[in-house]
């Protein structure tokens, strides 16, 4: 990962630098107009949130069943990313909804389930910070519940009646809208990999520091 970090960083920076141009060149949506352009960052932020939730859940499961500490460090790092990128999605969505639906928030299936999933990962971080000894296992279970929410949140727009656009929107995008969306999605996923690597490095350093403190006490 160390060798890949710098090239990936350069590639990500280039993609984010070009993203505003690509978004600006994308055509306006016929009914929503300019406000629909929030979509190009809003949806990729949820892609990252879902990926982070997946990494956190898998890391938690590996830690629970094998006791591997590195898996737990991955889970903790991913949980933080899930909260940050989830917050991004939860804040940009209402800005879109205010114009498209006339309200900032609607307690429908998609919005409510997304908020609940985000709160699960906030709870995970709070548990890690204030839970004391043994909170690793409890939070790993919580991570599994958080990950289990992902398919429900994703499919909620197809399963229940909601004001939110359906999942088919992404696949049916015209090429002029699809290309900038793909660029933004790739940029966000590359950012996710980079930030996750940096965050895991921090956890590894903290673990090394704990071991050094123990050696010092001995």
């Amino acid at each position: 990962m160390k060798k890949l970090f710098t090239p990936l960083l350069i590639l990500t920076a280039a993609m984010f630098a070009y993203a505003p141009v690509a978004i600006q060149n994308a055509p306006y949506e016929s009914t929503m107009g300019l406000v629909q352009k929030i979509f190009y960052f809003h949806v990729p932020s949820w892609f990252v949130m879902f990926s982070a939730a997946g990494v956190c859940g898998i890391g938690g499961a590996v830690f629970l069943f094998t006791g591997r500490k590195d898996a737990d460090r991955f889970a903790l790092a991913a949980a933080e990313l899930a909260v940050v990128f989830g917050l991004m999605g939860l804040l940009t969505g209402p800005l879109w909804g205010r114009k498209a639906w006339g309200v900032w928030w609607q307690w429908d299936a998609r919005l409510t389930s997304a908020l609940v999933m985000w709160l699960v990962f906030v709870a995970y971080l709070l548990l890690r910070k204030y839970g004391g000894a043994g909170s690793e296992k409890l939070s790993a279970v919580l991570a599994l519940f958080g990950m289990a929410n992902v398919p429900f949140v994703y499919l909620s727009v197809n399963l229940w009646r909601t004001v939110h656009p359906k999942t088919s929107v992404v696949m049916s995008l015209e090429p002029e809208m699809g290309r900038p969306f793909l660029l933004c999605s790739l940029a966000f996923m590359a950012l996710f990999v980079l930030v996750l690597a940096a965050r895991v490095r921090l956890e590894n350093m903290r673990a090394a520091l704990d071991e050094l403190y123990l050696s010092l006490e001995d």
Partner: protein
């Protein structure tokens, strides 16, 4: 006296019914269309501020989080070198 009270109750009920019936009436239809130019400014909802706010929120969160990670890594590196130095000193003794 009972008749007067009964009449008052009937009138009260009729009054309440009339009030609720009036309240359920649909609003008066407009007598003419109003051009958009004469609508007060605060009633329009331009999209640009919402889009700008959304992108600002994203960049603030990304840079804020990156800064927070960088600061925490720098702090951990400092602590690591400090503890390693103390450990090396303790081992020499």
């Amino acid at each position: 006296m009972k008749k007067v009270i009964g009449l008052a109750v009937v009138l009260l009920c009729l009054g309440l019914l009339a009030t609720s019936a009036l309240a359920q009436q649909p609003p008066q239809p407009p007598e003419g269309f109003v051009p958009a130019a004469s609508v007060q400014g605060q009633e329009k909802l331009p999209a640009a501020p919402l889009v700008i706010t959304a992108y600002s929120v994203v960049w603030l969160l990304v840079f804020g989080y990156l800064w927070s990670i960088w600061r925490r890594i720098a702090h951990a590196e400092r602590d690591l070198s400090e503890v390693s130095r103390r450990l090396a000193g303790a081992q020499r003794r």
